[in-house]
Symmetry: C2
Subunit: 885 residues, 2 copies
Amino acid sequence: MTKTNAQPKASISDKLVYTFGDGAAEGKADMKNLLGGKGANLAEMCSLGLPVPPGFTITTDVCVSYYANGKQLPELLTNQIEDAIAYIESKTGAKFGDGSNPLLVSVRSGARASMPGMMDTVLNLGLNDTTVQALAKKTGNERFAYDSYRRFIQMYSDVVLELDHYHFEEMLEEKKRDRDIELDTDLNAEDLKDLITQYKDKVKQELGKPFPESVHEQLWGAVMAVFNSWMNDRAIYYRRLHDIPESWGTAVTVQSMVFGNMGDDCATGVAFTRNPSTGEHKYYGEFLINAQGEDVVAGIRTPLPLDDMPKSMPVVYKQLTAVFDKLEAHYKDIQDIEFTIQNEKLWMLQTRNGKRTAAAAIKIAVDMVGEKLIDKKAAIKRIDPLSLDQLLHPTLDPKAPKTILTTGLPASPGAASGKVVFTAEDAETMALTHKEKVILVRIETSPEDIHGMHAAQGILTARGGMTSHAAVVARGMGKPCVSGAGELRIDYAAKTLKVGGHTVKEGDIMTINGSTGEVMLGEIPTVQPKLSDDFETLMGWADEVRKLNVRANAETPLDAAVARKFGAEGIGLCRTEHMFFDAERIIAMREMIVAEKVEGRKAALAKLLPMQRNDFIELFRIMSGLPVTIRLLDPPLHEFLPHTEEDIKQVAKAAGVSVDAVRHRAHELKEQNPMLGHRGCRLGITYPEIYEMQAQAIFEAAAAIIKEGKENVIPEIMVPLVMMPKELDILKALIDKTAADVMKKSGVTITYKVGTMIELPRAALRASEIAESAEFFSFGTNDLTQTTLGISRDDSASFIEVYKQRGIVEQDPFVSLDVIGVGELIHIATKRGRATRADLKIGICGEHGGDPASIRFCHEAGLDYVSCSPYRVPVARLAAAQAAI
Amino acid sequence: MTKTNAQPKASISDKLVYTFGDGAAEGKADMKNLLGGKGANLAEMCSLGLPVPPGFTITTDVCVSYYANGKQLPELLTNQIEDAIAYIESKTGAKFGDGSNPLLVSVRSGARASMPGMMDTVLNLGLNDTTVQALAKKTGNERFAYDSYRRFIQMYSDVVLELDHYHFEEMLEEKKRDRDIELDTDLNAEDLKDLITQYKDKVKQELGKPFPESVHEQLWGAVMAVFNSWMNDRAIYYRRLHDIPESWGTAVTVQSMVFGNMGDDCATGVAFTRNPSTGEHKYYGEFLINAQGEDVVAGIRTPLPLDDMPKSMPVVYKQLTAVFDKLEAHYKDIQDIEFTIQNEKLWMLQTRNGKRTAAAAIKIAVDMVGEKLIDKKAAIKRIDPLSLDQLLHPTLDPKAPKTILTTGLPASPGAASGKVVFTAEDAETMALTHKEKVILVRIETSPEDIHGMHAAQGILTARGGMTSHAAVVARGMGKPCVSGAGELRIDYAAKTLKVGGHTVKEGDIMTINGSTGEVMLGEIPTVQPKLSDDFETLMGWADEVRKLNVRANAETPLDAAVARKFGAEGIGLCRTEHMFFDAERIIAMREMIVAEKVEGRKAALAKLLPMQRNDFIELFRIMSGLPVTIRLLDPPLHEFLPHTEEDIKQVAKAAGVSVDAVRHRAHELKEQNPMLGHRGCRLGITYPEIYEMQAQAIFEAAAAIIKEGKENVIPEIMVPLVMMPKELDILKALIDKTAADVMKKSGVTITYKVGTMIELPRAALRASEIAESAEFFSFGTNDLTQTTLGISRDDSASFIEVYKQRGIVEQDPFVSLDVIGVGELIHIATKRGRATRADLKIGICGEHGGDPASIRFCHEAGLDYVSCSPYRVPVARLAAAQAAI
């Protein structure tokens, strides 16, 4: 029989509650995992001697245990909360539920990572029919007391009792109508008392029991409600979006209330210690006089800029900015702060590292090095490499109005607008002949569409994931792409797309945002990126520390030039097949494919030879002095075959065969699983004349440049999809012979390397034998992931989301390398390859070459370089530096 | 720069020549690798004191060195051959090239493995214008001497001088016409002298130089010619067919001539020590009086059965049978012998282990154990497991005449005749309604064709390899199949196939031979197999020694019953998807697939549940007391979807959706690489209700049988295509819960196991975690080969043959396991899996489970069982026994 497989009960430490207040705290800033960001930072601020209302934090362990035990809170918690309430009472002098000096508290969530607004909060807890009177008396402000009570009942009923808040809003509105007033603040104490009665009646009516008068019952209800809100839909969605594990749980912070709404010597506000948008070193924030935090959020009154504060509250302002400086000096980072001023006394309610734009992040990091707050390494670590994407691509003007039709996957960042076209041919015609900007819309793209993709401003597909053909090629080109917009109904025949109620025709203008996946009607203005001096400074620091070289995947002169501009140290992957889709070449290519005999193929290849040679001459010039890794033909031949009637005729004519023969050949070449088919070096073995032509073009290009003597050429010829060591032996012999022939004929000596992709598990396992012929390895992690995991990246969209939701995979393995599966094969191949050839150069050239987590793995695995799309080069440089620190 | 990669020169021992003769020899039987089969056995016979004409053997090393050094023979050879000739001279008293007592020799090839007729031979070497006269004088038979000389010139010119033999045959025919005679033997000495003059003139005219008079020049020419014939087209083709490595090379044996054609007291013959066709223990052979060996081959005269010899040559017959007995006692195997009788003296020219049919092999092995010649283990080792296939399937009557249309791949053994049909539906209609025997002819088959394949006698496809869908399914069903008959032009619309000049229409009768790949017109009579008592005896011995259990891949009651009859010890793979193609079920299955919501899917699954339950009840009964491993749904859903207009309508109606919705769903499910797509346990994760239904059917079936109390049920539930340990954790929980529910409801305790296929490299690597949930592993070596090597078995045909020819792979990796690639993953998974769970049961259930070499690997890897198609079970039992010895 099978053993049980239930989750083990979470084990939990005995200390469940951490108090803070009055210059001391049980917690500190580095206890975020246990206390959440909010709780840890409140504790830290206390220890720093800053004015923080006393309180306590219930640990995330309690949350984890709560869910592991069928929503039961641990027994130990009861006493610890009682003790902690007593602690607050001792610090404040107020008593919880007391009829003369009642303690009021807030109950807030706080996870390890910030999840703003996703979970629940209860304020003013501790009020009931008795304590409200005491509060009125103590503050001498009856209206304030009853308004607080009304707010509390409304919030508590919503959050804890799960009564829809519209019940209470209706009553509030009616009361205002009755009294013929507009603002809540115009309601007087009597109005509020009446409303409170109505509220409580409503609660009783809806729930069949009265609103809890017991402050302890209130507290427990609120704590449970916050824990429950960890699993509400908003929170789940937010976590999925930001890759926050469910297993972390949230902490709960209970803190004595302070009030910004007790009069005009009160206020509440939020502030950043620097400008989070630009990074400028200047305080930045806003505040509201006589208001509670929720009023700022509600947007009923417009807050004032922080710059106005010196006028209205000069003393507190001075205290506040002193706190800013102290916090920044302490945390050594921009702080995002919440504060409340109660009767001219400043209270700090929150501090955390401020979220900022990529541009701001760079400026702040570089500035802080200048200010000697942090060192260069800290500055490097501070920048999320992926955020650089924002800086490298044009972005939509955030202020422009938009009509969003649908949202697909953010497949290649940047924004683009243009006229909609539905075929690659139309894209080319419109773009090249009519000089129009176009958006190419396809159900999915294939290599035949590449010329159209080149011509287009951006690409939109209905199918395919983040690593679909469209996505990969678009990223390589640095063109915006939205893929997998599944709601689109594309009708090629009618040249329309339908989505929502809209029908978009060919020629209509659309805008796509490849950074968010949004698809919009009409043209939305964009903002061009500027790379700041700070950016260059930071990248320079990154280059100083990183160990990995960074190369680019590029084949066009444009891509190569962009890559070099972004700091690429060579080309790690030049996909020669992309060179065959040009109108003139595709015919020769197809002629080659339909030829029945080797002579026919050679005749067609002879036409391609001079074109390929010129391609390489251009690339070598641009990359002068840097290595250029050229992959020989990789995709199966059927990818090049024509589909339209007219194209088939044209090929038949060019090849001098019948239309039927072309069709027959196409049928013959059709494959069930082309990814595992007749491709890669299998083509080189079965049609050696193809690889021979390519090698000849490479060496002749190199010879031509070397003869000129101006530029330095370092070709590295890469054989794809090796599975058996002998494949490489045979093809290396062919390449070496071709090189020898060219060198003899041209009288020029060419220094070159021959190596292989490691993209099949068998190649990784047999690496020691493969390294006998290979002078370098390049891990093709796209294919290696496909084969190791048995997932076709084109087909994974249908289940990979479910896999992420169910926690089966943490990340799409085509986005971030599966380091314990695919990664083990990389370790094996690296070890075995270097055992045979100690100076074996090893890199990766899959999509993962631009992913920071994967780059960290490559660094740790001892690779020599990563290669990524040109626009990812700065990302990779930075990520490589972070990995090295 | 790159290092050179040339083949290292073969190193070679100093001793290149081994002599034998007159009761002594330098070689012996176990030196086949060095001396070839012929040379080694001649040496052995000498040592046994048998009458063997003296001679010597030039080693295979010389051949290898010859090719490694640009067809140069090693210098050492010259002296060694001279010494060896002197040795023969000393033994025979004759002298090479001598004018009075000339030594004549034969020069023959002899490789490690027998390659009959593939390489060249020269007889009567040593004759020239001088020695022929001496031979005439010595033998007193001028006609014999000149006939020998004529034959020698003709043979030598053909083999060594490469002159087409038709030149000489023409002259011979003309001479016979001139002399008005029919038989060569009627030519007299003068005729022959004249012919010899003509022959020599012809040689001089064609080559510009005379026929060599020097006997040493003759000898070196013949030796080189034999070495050259190692690389002739016939030999290359034969080696490829029989997997004989080119690297072995051939030996050359030079032996003094003896003559069976010197008069009526001379003869030549071939014999087997037992009947090679039936195994009967009785001498078997034929002989010709006054003839040379080549006359027997030429077929001009009909040889006499050996049984006639006692009458004509009683003394020699007695000597001969004594030699037979001595050789059999010595070699302990049936011997295939060549002999010559010269003037009543018996000479042995060859002995080797006789080729025999599978039936004979078994009878001989079992008899020899009875005769105490060999022990049981030797008997087991003696049978080629694959040869058993001959015994298990009906075979074509070898005597029947045939018109062979084309030859495809021998995909599933056995022969079948029937009316040609081109669709699965037609196959079913013709077979079930009209009770016709049909051959299903398809370009390729898909799972939808399975019902048609079941209905057909045999399957013929134009595309697909030895492990294509058609091949795999047919082997599973034990049905003959010829796949990949690429010359067929199938026109589904016209319902015809064209091949060669023939057009075959629907309803025409064809015969296929799945053991040879032949496709024939009309009905060829077949012979039904009978399994002998000897077969059962031998299999019993095999069962005693083997360590591996043998199970079968089966899902139908018929297959399961066949498997059990053939000795299967359970079912290792029950592919549940095969159960869904039945007409009634496929509709419910499709209804399930097109359902938009889980409720719709559950409704459709509820219809399938009782049918699945009955399937399992039947299987469990047949396999009572034995484990039955049931794999949950594996193929992608689109394999089940309808293609015809009518089927689409039917599904739309059944599911209550529009035809467009069905089409949309089909489009949605279409995949680029279905092998790597949404299949296996990915279906179980995304549509848990499917696996739940299947688990419920299994457990309810088990409960029903257990309640009856007559049979014993051991279900093992297998989750396919696991890539992440958590997949299995989730699905095991689902299965365990379903089991608990059924047990609770039925009040019956069911003992079961849950395990997984290991068919992805990642699963092999993460086996230690997977084994935390898995109670058994079954290596799905088809998929594991596909992913490890990155080859789709459906698409490999286009290049795998070239790979075999170029020596990149030795064997199709789908036929015989890639033991150093895929095999390493199996070792890793076995080690890691057992480290977690010491009693983990491990088997394989790919196609390799029936391949002897793969079975040997499984034994060595410490697996518990192999599972193969029912008709392969005896093959696997025997191979497992051989592996254990």
